[in-house]
């Protein structure tokens, strides 16, 4: 008898375990999908060029113009959230240093620990009559930066519009190449930077970056006893963001309804021909919120001070009609605009409404689109979507629901 009840209890548990495993599997799969989705987004590459200057002992003996050298950089990075990201950057080219009095030289080892005063640079460069001379350095630095999006942090994601300010701190490896007497060497480098960017296009940013690097005293092959040498670069560059750019507010965990799978449901236990039959009904209601962000489907252009669409845009109307036909649950919003450069705000608002209504009538009357699938509104001259005035004489068609 005891054996019978033990077996019955075990049979009752099996379906619950199976259900729990199903939940865990789905949860893990959902989490993996989310992680894959996030890892694939917000990657970018950038390149920059500019000038840099070295701050080292005796470097002030050179004129400011003589201290400037070209600076080149390339980088790839990823934003892990609207607020922070990481970047792998390679930068370098050259520094111009200067040698005055004193110092010992890495290229002149007296023994394993002590260096001498013989500098091979002297035979490679022009010595000035006062005995000083320039040090030409060539280097490449590879480092990883931790970056913040300062304006997004302060004003919320996208709060600063097209502008962004990005401070960063990083650690890397600097390779000094053997060049004109300066010996080769490998050094740990600490980086600080402040970049400002302006979004030129959805995928392209223009950026201006001030970049400081701290290097060991021996970086230029000369040891003078100062704590470190520093380089400062100012570069102008461009950033290309791969198309999957931006962040959606997506839950990192599967929908809560999946939790229902884990809850044990009442089971009906019957014995049929000496066999225990356990019947359990598991009803799962999965409500997954699909984030459909509005996106622009087309633009209908108008002449200045006109509420009649420019001729020759039939292909746009046909495409709109086809899209609605292919997506029965889709709705379109017609946003009328007027260029802010001409007309009063009141007149522009009136004109933009007329334009939206004109497209609304045209789509419903000539292309058979159901009126219930369209929303028309006039926005006026404020909040124009484009920089060029002529482009804002338009009705922007946006898919708002599907």
């Amino acid at each position: 008898m005891k054996l019978f009840f033990s077996g019955l209890l075990a049979l009752c548990c099996v379906p619950a375990v199976v259900a729990q495993e199903a939940v865990d599997t789905e949860r893990r799969e959902a989490e993996r999908a989310y992680v894959r989705d996030q890892l694939a987004k917000n990657w970018y590459v950038e390149a920059g060029a500019g000038a840099q200057i070295l701050f080292a002992d005796d470097a002030s003996g050179l004129g400011f113009g003589q201290r400037l050298t070209p600076s080149l950089s390339v980088a790839a990075g990823k934003w892990f959230s609207p607020y922070w990201g990481m970047r792998l950057q390679a930068r370098g080219y050259g520094f111009n240093g200067n040698t005055g009095m004193g110092g010992i030289y890495v290229a002149d080892p007296v023994d394993g620990l002590v260096y001498g005063t013989g500098d091979p640079v002297r035979s490679e460069v022009t010595i000035r009559p006062d005995g000083t001379y320039r040090r030409y350095m060539r280097y490449l630095d590879v480092h990883v930066d931790f970056r913040l999006r300062l304006l997004d942090l302060i004003g919320g994601p996208g709060g600063a519009g097209r502008w962004e300010v990005m401070p960063a701190v990083g650690l890397g490896y600097a390779r000094a190449f053997a060049y004109r007497g300066v010996p080769a060497g490998n050094f740990l480098a600490t980086h600080f930077s402040l970049a400002g960017s302006y979004r030129l296009a959805p995928s392209f940013d223009l950026n201006l970056e001030a970049h400081a690097v701290l290097l060991p005293d021996a970086f230029d092959g000369r040891i003078t006893g100062q704590p470190c040498e520093a380089g400062l670069a100012l570069t102008l560059g461009a950033t290309y963001h791969f198309p999957a750019r931006g962040f959606r507010r997506t839950a990192a965990t599967p929908p809560p309804a999946l939790e229902a799978l884990a809850a044990p449901a009442p089971a009906e236990v019957r014995v049929v021909r000496d066999t225990v039959v356990l019947t359990r009904e598991v009803r799962v209601e999965v409500s997954v919120e699909v984030a459909n962000e509005p996106f622009t489907l087309g633009v209908v252009a108008f002449a200045i001070d006109s509420s009649e669409p420019r001729p020759g845009q039939e292909v746009t109307y046909v495409n709109l009609a086809r899209y609605l036909e292919a997506h029965p649950r889709a709705m379109l919003r017609l946003d009328g605009y007027a260029d802010a450069a001409t007309g009063t705000p009141e007149y522009n608002l009136h004109l933009s409404r007329q334009r939206a209504d004109a497209v609304y009538r045209l789509l419903t009357e000539q292309y058979g689109i159901a009126p219930g699938r369209l929303q028309a509104q006039g926005i006026g001259g404020n909040g124009s979507p484009y920089d060029q005035a002529a482009w804002n004489r338009a009705v922007v068609v946006t898919v708002i629901e599907e």
Partner: protein
Amino acid sequence: MKSRRWIIPLLVAVLLAAGCDREEVYPTYDQPGWVETFDGDYNASMTAVLRLPDNLAPYVAAGDELAAFIGDECRGVGQQVDGLWYVMLKGTPDEQGMVSIRYYSAANRYLYRTAEGFEFESDGVYGTADNPVTLSLVTQE
């Protein structure tokens, strides 16, 4: 925006151009080959023991020359021993000319002279081996 795109390459070019600089060039001279070429009857002498300033010490080379002049007349050619230059100057007992030192750096082919001279003194001593006079040199104009 398209009309302003030329600004970007222009700014990059300006920054890069700012980082380019030409090699410095200074006047250089051939080996002077100084020798004592005085015609007069110089029966007085003076000894000078000199050392180069620290900024030129690293460039001492085999072809370096140092000589003492009164006016344009070479009154003595220096001999280098253990980093010091020993010069025996010739003159007359009542000589009152100012002595200037000229130095030729063979490594860099630069010619120097002392900024200020010293007065010739018969049997006089200008610096010693234990306390040599460090030269204050300027480039030859």
